[in-house]
């Protein structure tokens, strides 16, 4: 159901002139023109904050899917093999690293824990993956692996804010907000910035619009039930009644507008029309019945333990297909202080197949070139063991490690099949091509055709940007 009747009677000229398909805007323009407040459709420019905007230069990617691996996945057990560590296994860190350490609780004898994982090389590029990533490793040649990420933040909430917003402080816009602020959205029926999954540490701060207008805030989508807050009609409101209700609101708004001439009335009415389109488009978005059996199988939608994460990954693809600019998919529970062997395996069993399927699916549909996929957490994990005996018998894990960790990207203009950066033999420090979170952000914006130094917003007397006063585009990452 749509606003066809309204369109037929009112919006012919505007419709034909410019806004093919943009029903709300048609009605809106008509109203503005009734009383001479708007002389041409152009005077509507800037009304919709999510209207697609031109990037600063030709972009490599149009959309982003950010797989945020919350908690800090262990790079040493997944992506960054360290054969040298075997020699140090069970021994304290080498003297050279500990001579200046003054530890209050643990002695500097914290033992190195060589990863028990088996690493093998994959793809033409021979990229290393651990045996827990059998699916992702088959995408090696599309993946651009960064083994030299660093951050200053070693606590979850500040680390997550850093990774999402480029600052450990709360109240700043997130990457998705900056992106939609810079580029708007191609989707007429869905929000431009969608969040899948829940935050655990920093709360909604990691998809915040900060000081930007609230239209740029991430809209949390759930993969079951109502995908968006308040999306379903209240009991006893059929779709027909909902349509008629909105029509009545618009009918009165029209009278009001003619009476007062206030353009914001038109803008508000347009927002009701978009709301209604979201209501109709969302069930279609959430409906997997038209997906082929092979696709569902590839993601693992109908099986455990992949069901939930697979649904989110498939949804992410469907959103990108429908023009959603930025999808932030949160996978939580990677904070393996203890029982790493058991729990990391569990996480991989849930995530590996759907993640690989997402890459393959995007690729086979020709979407990978225009979609930048990013995978990573707020930091990595220590080479040293965290041993909780005697409190918890036989349960070992690793601690937070901000000095060198791994993330990867694929698609949208990055060079697949390459590994960038290197950590030392114990995986402690970065020794080659250090990439700070700011650099990563600068590079992501660059892929989207945005110059991170020019994407600014003036607030409290100064220009703010995602990369604060730092960040350099890492050209080596680009295709």
């Amino acid at each position: 159901m749509d606003f066809g009747d309204f369109r037929r009677t009112h919006g012919r000229r505007a419709f034909l002139q410019r806004f093919a398909g943009g029903l709300g805007t048609v009605g809106l323009w008509h109203l503005l023109s009734v009383d001479g407040f708007a002389d041409s459709p152009d005077s509507l420019a800037g009304w919709n904050p999510l209207e697609p905007k031109k990037p600063h230069f030709t972009p490599r990617a149009k959309n982003v899917i950010f797989l945020f691996i919350e908690g800090g996945p262990s790079q040493l057990d997944l992506f960054d093999p360290k054969p040298e560590m075997k020699k140090w296994d069970g021994k304290p860190l080498p003297e050279s690293m500990t001579q200046n350490l003054q530890l209050a609780f643990i002695k500097p004898t914290a033992q190195v824990w060589a990863s028990p994982r088996i690493f093998t090389q994959h793809g033409d590029s021979g990229m290393d993956f651990s045996d827990w990533l059998p699916h992702l490793s088959s995408c090696a040649d599309d993946i651009c692996m960064i083994r030299s990420m660093v951050t200053e933040q070693f606590n979850h909430s500040t680390g997550q804010l850093m990774m999402s917003c480029g600052t450990p402080l709360v109240g700043r816009p997130s990457m998705g907000a900056w992106t939609t602020y810079g580029l708007g959205s191609e989707s007429q029926n869905l929000p431009g910035y969608v969040v899948l999954g829940k935050a655990t540490a920093a709360g909604s701060g990691i998809w915040s619009n900060g000081f930007l207008q609230s239209s740029y805030q991430g809209v949390p989508f759930r993969d079951k039930g109502d995908p968006v807050l308040y999306l379903s009609n209240p009991m006893g409101i059929t779709q027909e009644a909902q349509h008629d209700r909105i029509k009545a609101i618009r009918d009165l708004g029209e009278i009001d507008y003619i009476e007062t001439g206030d353009m914001e009335i038109a803008a508000r009415m347009a927002s009701y029309e978009l709301a209604f389109r979201m209501q109709t488009a969302s069930p279609e978005l959430m409906d997997f019945s038209k997906e082929s059996k092979d696709t569902l199988e590839m993601y693992g939608v109908n099986r455990e333990p992949t069901h939930e994460f697979a649904s989110k990954c498939l949804l992410a693809r469907r959103m990108v297909e429908r023009g959603v600019r930025f999808v932030q998919l949160i996978s939580s529970g990677w904070d393996h202080h203890s029982d790493l062997n058991k729990n990391l395996k569990k996480n991989c069993d849930i995530n590996d197949q759907p993640t690989a399927a997402l890459l393959k699916d995007l690729k086979q549909r020709g979407l990978l070139d225009s979609t930048l996929v990013i995978w990573g957490g707020e930091f990595g994990r220590t080479p040293m063991i965290e041993d909780r005996k005697p409190i918890e018998q036989g349960s070992v894990g690793r601690d937070h490690h901000p000095f060198g960790f791994t993330m990867w990207m694929a698609g949208g203009g990055v060079k697949g099949g390459q590994v960038l950066g290197k950590t030392d033999d114990l995986g402690f420090h970065v020794v080659e091509d250090k990439i700070h979170v700011h650099d990563l952000h600068a590079t992501i914006l660059h892929c989207l055709g945005l110059n991170h130094e020019h994407l600014t917003f003036r607030h409290q007397g100064r220009n703010f940007r995602l990369t604060d006063v730092a960040g350099q585009v890492v050209h080596k990452l680009l295709a």
Partner: protein
């Protein structure tokens, strides 16, 4: 419970571990920063002549930032005395030893990521070599100070170009206007003069129905009642408008509306923020104080002094201490592993920035890491302001409301008896005293075992001052201090003994019983307040804002560009508060009246209401701003009087209708040839909807409430509050519990601030999420149902009367004929559908147990009501 505690403990253990690794790391890093001087260019082989060799380098490359105008990082290089003294981080030049001279390290780029000078090319190795030679030869200066000419020039420029907002407002004379009859008070003279010079005429006065709704929403945040509307419409006395204004200013809901505005500035919340986001069960006590202070029309100078320094006032009344809760709205990070000092510093920075922005309208926080780039505030001056708050500490005190004391005193003995019995039954006393000893020992004994050290750390992280109480002689502790330690001991004894032992002791059970007992005998209300630290730390400039890099020591002080601090031997927060509201302060009154203006017109006279610095927007009416500021001070900071003055002006009373003639000339209405039309705040959208539907609970003050959250409305895992059942779910929006990591969704979709930092001006967006919120949120749909019942009950007559009534309730006016016609058609269609499908009608309006309600009628009225509640006119103040 225990499992949870244990898990938590696991987590904390690990976080602590990483903390220590990191401390070690940072220290290691500091060490590695000790520069290997091997990388330095060698000293030049020549006998240095200062004037020939050195002065040109300093002049061209250094004095821009380290000369007479600016002294970044506190370093000044235009005369020998200052140059040898050095900057915030110590001496820059060590005569005779260029290897150890920081100046050389910096220009040679030895420090990672930082090479001076910042602009232009780097110094050549030759130039560095010359500077080295000069230092090695004793860093001697010539007789002439190199920068004299420039000093004079700069000083002249400085005095000539003082930014307008930094000079005290002078009371302007009223401008002459042609249309003198239009002006109702001095405000209008200023506005009209501007309009006349632009050749624009003001708009006519809004109609009375509009005025009563506007006034009511602006002053109380609530729509007018039917009686208020009809009384005002019928009041033909010449002073009817003033009477209405007085009536609204005297309403107890006035304080609620203006408290919310103040809460934005204070960034009030009911939880800590960050990972743990602990609840703050006492935060509301400060809000309660604000509502009351607003209602009592506390003069703004007193309001300021009590909130910033109520604890230091000579009479030091309880309510004055409660007022300092203003400063307790900063975030707290208790995530396991955080460095307490780091976040203490963050809190002090937040307090300093908040005060700077709220009272001075200056973004002083910018000067935390370096001298302010645009405004005349040096980094040193930032830390001088910081010093006022650096000596504070957080305490919670008992702050009962009047009605609490009687019942409390009656029930206290029984509570004490029962608690004592419980503690004795589980044998707490002996175990606790041993635990205390060992925990205290671990505080200082580096040989103590891991568990006991953890025990000490956890006490520090999870209690306010628990570590201090532990140090006290047990016989000297107050009952409350003792109880706090006991409660903590019962909860956390498991850190140091096995699970088996805890099970034997049944401490988990005891913990539950103690909590239950406490619920049955609610303790007195507490307040979060600020006090002076008995052992105040010395304040240092923090190099680049980093708490690990203290620079030179500073004393509390005011920025030199503003009025001087009152002369007293020791400057305290009280000195600062009095300085802020001293008539000589050029900013406070201007900034405050500007925010008032913003509330009544949507935009301040200075649009950047949080920034009056050199980068601020120019005031649209500079003289009006100064007149209002001086008027405010002249009236002894009487807030209600200022509000009354503004709303009585003809400027305020204009119609808000858009005017085609203004489209091109003044599209943003900066000249105020009409009123602005403003979307209601998040809270007002809720309050207004609940009010007209008759659901609103109008009780004032008290604890925060937890209305139902829609499915999917919690944004953080693990947060789910116990929703209020009774009338509390219909309280006004300002009372909604504000959990920082998972705020109430409706507030957020309507642009309420996230409470993480000062918010001086809210956005007013229009989004599809708002539309869905108003259409489908059960809270708003319930209001539509209630409004339907109200209409049918109170007007059981014909439909046209009902519609008339509904319009008057929602919009304060009767429907136009076109509106009547369209809604009649709509209602007809709805009824037809519902008659066809009675099941839908039942679903839409489940008339459980309601008598004399025609379900079809009520269901059709539910959606019609909802249409009215969704109108742009309903959610805007016009």
């Amino acid at each position: 419970m225990l499992k949870l505690v244990l898990q938590r403990m696991m987590f904390l253990t690990s976080c602590l571990l990483i903390l220590f690794v990191l401390i070690a790391q940072t220290r290691a890093q500091v060490h590695s920063d000790q520069i290997s001087a091997a990388a330095l260019p060698p000293p030049a082989r020549l006998t240095v002549d200062f004037n020939r060799d050195i002065a040109p380098i300093l002049e061209e490359r250094c004095l821009g930032c380290h000369g007479s105008v600016q002294q970044l990082s506190g370093l000044r290089l235009d005369n020998p005395a200052d140059a040898l003294k050095g900057g915030y981080s110590g001496p820059a030049i060590v005569p005779g030893n260029s290897r150890e001279s920081k100046l050389i390290h910096m220009v040679a780029g030895l420090k990672k990521g930082m090479v001076l000078p910042l602009g232009g090319e780097r110094l050549s190795p030759r130039q560095v070599g010359i500077l080295r030679a000069w230092i090695d030869q004793g860093a001697r200066w010539s007789e002439v100070t190199i920068d004299k000419r420039q000093i004079e020039e700069n000083q002249r420029q400085r005095t000539n170009r003082k930014h307008w907002a930094l000079s005290p407002p002078r009371r302007p004379t009223l401008p002459k206007v042609k249309n003198a009859l239009w002006a109702r008070n001095p405000i209008d003279a200023f506005v009209l003069a501007r309009l006349e010079s632009a050749g624009i005429s003001p708009s006519p006065e809004a109609d009375r129905a509009n005025l009563v709704r506007r006034l009511s929403l602006d002053l109380t945040g609530l729509p007018p009642t039917l009686e208020e509307v009809s009384e005002f419409l019928a009041d033909k006395r010449p002073d009817a408008y003033e009477r209405l204004v007085d009536h609204l200013l005297a309403s107890p809901h006035y304080g609620e509306k203006w408290a919310r505005h103040w809460m934005d500035l204070a960034h009030y919340a009911d939880s800590d923020g960050y990972w743990d986001d602990h609840l703050r069960p006492h935060a509301w006590r400060w809000r309660h104080w604000v509502v009351d202070a607003m209602n009592r029309n506390m003069p703004f100078d007193q309001f300021t002094i009590e909130q910033l320094a109520g604890d230091l006032l000579p009479d030091g009344r309880l309510d004055q201490k409660v007022a300092t809760g203003f400063l307790r709205n900063t975030l707290t990070n208790t995530e396991g592993g955080v460095k307490k000092e780091e976040f203490r510093v963050e809190q002090i920075v937040d307090r300093t920035s908040t005060v700077g922005q709220v009272w001075l309208g200056l973004t002083v926080g910018c000067a935390r890491c370096h001298d302010h780039k645009f405004d005349p505030i040096s980094q040193k001056e930032f830390y001088q302001l910081f010093a006022f708050f650096d000596t504070t500490t957080e305490v919670n005190i008992e702050a009962p409301l009047q009605e609490e004391m009687g019942p409390f005193l009656r029930r206290k003995p029984e509570y004490d008896r029962k608690r004592k019995a419980l503690l004795a039954e589980y044998g707490v006393k002996e175990l606790q005293s041993e635990w205390e000893k060992k925990t205290l020992d671990a505080a200082t004994n580096s040989q103590a075992s891991f568990e006991w050290r953890l025990s000490w750390e956890i006490l520090g992280l999870h209690t306010l001052h628990g570590q201090d109480y532990l140090r006290f002689d047990p016989n000297r502790r107050t009952q409350k201090q003792e109880d706090l330690l006991t409660d903590h001991f019962v909860k956390w004894y498991n850190l140091v003994v096995t699970k088996q032992r805890i099970d034997e002791l049944k401490f988990e059970e005891l913990d539950g019983k103690l909590e239950k007992l406490a619920e049955q005998f609610p303790l007195l209300t507490e307040a979060q307040v600020i006090a002076e630290n008995p052992v105040p730390p010395k304040t240092h400039i923090l190099i680049r804002g980093d708490y690990l890099q203290p620079g030179t020591e500073v004393q509390p002080g005011a920025p030199a560009v503003l009025n001087p601090l009152e002369n007293s031997p020791k400057a305290t927060r009280l000195t600062l508060a009095r300085w802020l509201v001293s008539p000589a302060n050029p900013l406070t009154a201007r900034v405050t009246v500007n925010r008032m203006w913003q509330e009544f017109f949507g935009y301040g006279l200075v649009e950047s209401s949080g920034d009056f610095g050199t980068r601020a927007d120019r005031p649209s009416h500079p003289k009006l701003l100064d007149w209002l500021a001086t008027e405010f001070v002249r009236n002894q900071w009487n807030v209600k009087k200022m509000h009354k003055l503004i709303v009585q002006s003809a400027t305020y009373r204009q119609s808000s209708k858009a005017r085609k003639d203004l489209q091109g000339r003044d599209p943003y209405n900066r000249l105020l040839a009409r009123q602005n039309r403003l979307r209601l705040s998040a809270e007002a959208v809720r309050d207004t909807t609940l009010a007209v539907s008759g659901l609103l609970n109008l009780s004032i003050g008290g604890k925060s409430v937890r209305p139902p959250v829609p499915p999917g409305g919690y944004t953080k895992t693990g947060i789910r509050w116990k929703e209020d059942e009774g009338p509390d779910r219909y309280r006004r929006g300002l009372y909604i519990f504000f959990q920082r990591t998972s705020p109430y969704p409706q507030l957020m979709s309507f642009d309420a601030p996230d409470s993480l930092q000062v918010c001086t001006r809210r956005e007013r967006s229009s989004t599809p999420i708002q539309a869905l919120n108003l259409l489908n949120d059960p809270v708003f749909f319930e209001a539509a149902q209630a409004l339907a019942v109200r209409i049918l009950r109170e007007k059981p007559t014909k439909w046209s009367d009902q519609l008339d009534y509904a319009f008057r309730l929602c919009l304060g006016r009767t429907p136009r004929s076109a509106e009547f016609q369209r809604l009649a058609d709509y209602f007809g269609r709805e009824k037809e559908r519902l008659l066809r499908d009675p099941v839908v009608a039942e679903q839409r309006f489940p008339a459980k147990g309601m008598e004399n309600v025609n379900v079809t009628e009520a269901a059709a009225w539910t959606t019609l009501s909802s249409v009215l509640l969704n109108l742009d006119e309903f959610v805007t103040r016009r």
